[in-house]
Amino acid sequence: MNNPHTIIQKEEFKSSQNVRWCPGCGDHAILNSVQKAMAELNLKREEVVVVSGIGCSSRFTYYMNTFGFHTIHGRGSAIASGVKIANPDLKVWQITGDGDALAIGGNHFIHTIRRNIDLNIILFNNQIYGLTKGQFSPTSRRGFISKTSPFGTIEHPFRPGELAIGARGNFFARSMDRKPNLCTEIFKEAAQHKGTSIVEVLQNCVIYNDKTHEELTHKEEKHDRTIILKHGEPMIFGKNRDKGLILDGMQLKVVKIGENGLTESDLLVHDAECQDSTLHLKLANMEYPEFPVALGVIRKVKAPVYDQEVINQIERLQSTSTIKTFRDLAIEGDVWEVE
């Protein structure tokens, strides 16, 4: 969208606060992409609420010239849920990180997804605790060495997509800080989706976990190591667009077009809107080097939205109940009158 006003509008979403993330941090690019997405969506600043918890990513709130609530560690989803249910007209965005959403806030994260409250949740995944200066996180790879795992971690990491789909999520997408245009596109699609949307952004912590996603951003190889999924299009990738994904029995398999008589028409076509999440889960779980890492909107399905259901129920009851005011309630039922 080449709207001549886009640039100006994007600037309007910037608050007067100086952005204080480290130079080179991936967060800067994500902030920029969010502001751009909001401008392109033509959102009004006053109808946007940005809610965050604690962590580097959560400072995001202060840099947005919208309504913002920087809250407490892990509770962003719960607070954002209250905001959205109380006033569904607001556009509520939650900014969170791998520690905030998946460790201390894990419970709120899965239940918010399960309820399908119309929130846009952006999860910055840098696989490290940055604000506390370098401890492993729930997404750090097994064996990862950090200040609190000097001999390597001995725990399995969460895969955010698997967790979100496991919590019956209806929208999951993945992007990277190094792909600002993809970020903007995905943020827009997430914002337009009714229900909880989870966008995992693979983000680089330049100080404590630099180059953690390096193998996916490698200049020469990145096209062979990632695949951008688009609804309705074949699952094709590679520098020369000569690789693709097929189902071999129950398993995904990387194939080369042209080998063994395979053509593009043999490849899987991405259906993000399929209710059955089996294939979405397989796509979300693909890891390099066995597979390319999936980017783009992996799952986007329609389902009842909690905040709207609340209103529907209230409207239904208000149209039938004889109790219209508090007074009606107070003098209804087992009441006696003294005259």
Partner: protein, 616 residues
């Protein structure tokens, strides 16, 4: 009407219905309470049910009881029972030590067989001799067999008929107190309108119980209880938990705000959640959260978005809410937390009453984190204090903890439906600032509250949060001197709430040398004990605190008039510590109890008398 062998006149009487947890005693008690309250009695009720949902039948741990105290000037559910209905031996055994001397015991003799007596722990076949009950009026009523007899032509199974025998006890009690059974009939017809056989059985059993009184009246005392002269208006029976929920409904109504409850079920607070979950017709949004933390967090979010955000909990739940309470203090958003206290620490005594969360409410957060703490003191004034807690939270932009407890929550009293004008308006501190120049932490000079601006208001976009703010601009500030200014501002904002709450008043004999002090739910027992002592010729004053932080402004002026202050509370002295902290030079004595039970009037009077003697 035939002659009765014994007519007892009394101002107040306590009746206890007691049986197995499946015997329907709670319902029986509630129905009798409604009948007698509508007849013109003050009432105070308290249910006493087992902690287990289905405890073993016939055992003491499975006994479920409901006491109703009624008459004139009733303030508590009664220390002792004047009339006990014991549906089985376990019910007798469980309550026999709480009978008033010369009281009446109605037993379902059909259930006093060897097996049930053994289950209840009786060693012989004669509980009357074994428990030395010869001084009581014993009414041996064949409740089970007569219930079966009067319904034998109905096509109902034995289980359904046995389930209705509580109506027999209700009929008999109504006869004893000359109360009409019309209300109960109406209730039965409504409840079982789709089950005509069950309806018929219940009606017949109710009448059989009522008539049994007539038939055997020579052996049954009947009572004449003084009625009070209530003001004109509508009345109903209301429990503390329901009163809290309704107080919030009124606050939403008066403030024009949507009510949002974020909650997680916890005994004994859950009825508040259940009551409001049913009030979609009044537009209430209820969010049953995944845990206590999400419950309060969602309420904070809703409040930030412009609703009246509230949450309810009990002790362990309040512990979990501590961090989020700090956020509400810091962000200066309105919020009401109702803490229905129970015995602690930890899971403690979930169904029993205690006042031991006071210090947690006052201090249980990191940092200098002052908030308003108030306490309701009767089941029905839970309504008033839920309303006033909301008013303070909204007008002063401050979180409020309202303390009730299991005793208030489950107890009930007759409640006069408020008339228009009984409660004040609630004035939301909307911003008068110019759009585009909004400062989120600019303060009202009188109350020191900040303006309440909701998302959606063009030109008022701003960021708030858990980090310290610059006192002038509201921007994030890590500056030390600014932090001290903000800490003092938050404290002073709280202190100024004292300018808007009623002064402490003294009842009993205000000119006495000894002042008894309590807070919250001990009001009824303390009031009655003081009233009786003064009537008996002693001189003693009494003050109850409903506002704890801040204290009423005249607190020191009142307390310092007395040579001795007796602080009574159901904990080890938390309020006494609070008073000593504020007014260290006064002379305090403590009376404390932590048995999961309310005070008894008897023990209070004994302690006060002893203290009065020591004064002389």
């Amino acid at each position: 009407m035939q002659r009765r062998s014994k007519i007892i006149d009394a101002d107040r009487i306590a009746v206890r219905f007691s049986g197995d947890s499946g015997d329907g005693m709670q319902l029986t008690g509630s129905l009798f309470s409604l009948t007698t309250a509508a007849f013109g009695n003050d009432i105070s009720t308290f249910p006493d049910f087992p902690a287990d949902i289905r405890a073993p039948q016939g055992t003491i741990s499975g006994v479920s009881g409901f006491q109703v105290h009624f008459g004139k000037g009733v303030c508590t559910p009664g220390d002792l029972t004047d009339v006990l209905v014991a549906m089985n031996p376990a019910a007798l055994k469980a309550n026999v030590n709480y009978m008033s001397p010369g009281g009446t015991i109605i037993m379902d003799v059909d259930n006093f067989d060897k097996k049930n007596l053994e289950k209840a722990g009786y060693l012989t076949n004669d509980p009357i001799i074994e428990d030395k009950l010869q001084g009581f009026n014993i009414v041996k009523a064949p409740i089970t067999s007569l219930s079966q007899e009067c319904t034998k032509d109905l096509k109902l199974d034995r289980k359904s008929i046995l389930r209705s025998k509580n109506m027999y006890a209700l009929g008999l009690i109504n006869w004893m107190f000359n109360r009409p059974i019309d209300y109960t009939r109406k209730y039965i017809r409504h409840k079982f309108s789709h089950k005509p056989d069950v309806m018929e059985a219940n009606l017949r059993i109710l009448e059989t119980g009522f008539n049994y009184g007539n038939i055997i009246q020579a052996g049954t005392p009947s009572y004449h209880i003084t009625t009070s002269e209530p003001q004109k208006g509508f009345y109903r029976n209301l429990s503390g938990n329901k009163a809290v929920a309704w107080g919030f409904l009124l606050a939403a109504d008066k403030s024009g705000l949507q009510l949002f409850l974020g909650s997680y079920p916890i005994t004994p607070s859950t009825e508040i959640l259940q009551e409001l979950a049913g009030r979609k017709d009044l537009g209430v949004k209820v969010f049953q959260a995944e845990d206590e933390i999400a419950a309060i967090s969602s309420a904070i979010g809703a409040s930030y978005a412009g609703a009246l955000g509230i949450t309810n909990t009990s002790g362990p739940g309040l512990s979990l809410k501590s961090e989020a309470l700090g956020l509400a203090v810091m962000a200066e958003v309105p919020l009401v937390v109702v803490n229905v206290q129970r015995g602690g620490p930890s899971t403690g005594l979930p169904t029993k009453t205690e006042q031991s969360d006071l210090m947690q409410a006052l201090y249980g957060r990191n940092g200098e984190s002052p908030l308003v703490v108030m306490a309701a003191s009767t089941p029905v004034n839970c309504f008033d204090y839920a309303f006033y807690a909301s008013k303070i939270a909204l007008e002063h932009m401050i979180p409020v903890i309202l303390l009730t407890d299991s005793f208030l929550a489950n107890g009930s009293q007759q409640w006069k439906v408020p008339e228009e004008g009984d409660f004040p308006t609630i004035d939301i501190p909307r911003s008068q600032q110019e759009p585009g120049k909004f400062l989120p932490y600019l303060r009202n000079p009188e109350k020191l509250n900040r303006d309440w601006v909701r998302p959606g208001m063009e030109g008022y976009e701003h960021r708030i949060g858990s980090l310290e703010k610059d006192a002038d601009t509201g921007a994030v500030s890590h500056d030390g001197p600014n932090h001290e200014i903000m800490v003092k501002l938050r404290q002073e904002k709280l202190n100024r709430v004292a300018n808007f709450i009623p002064p402490l008043s003294v009842e009993g004999n205000p000119g006495a040398e000894v002042l008894v002090v309590g807070w919250g739910s001990t009001y009824g027992h303390l009031h009655t004990a003081i009233e009786e002592l003064n009537t008996e010729g002693n001189e003693i004053a009494f003050a109850i605190f409903n506002y704890i932080n801040p204290l009423p402004k005249n607190t020191e002026d009142i307390l310092k008039k007395y040579k001795t202050i007796i602080v009574c509370e159901l904990n080890m002295g938390q309020f006494a510590t609070w008073l000593r902290n504020h007014f260290p030079k006064l002379n305090y004595i403590q009376y404390n109890k932590v048995q999961g039970l309310p005070f008894t009037i008897k023990e209070l009077k004994e302690f006060f008398k002893k203290s009065l003697e020591e004064q002389r």
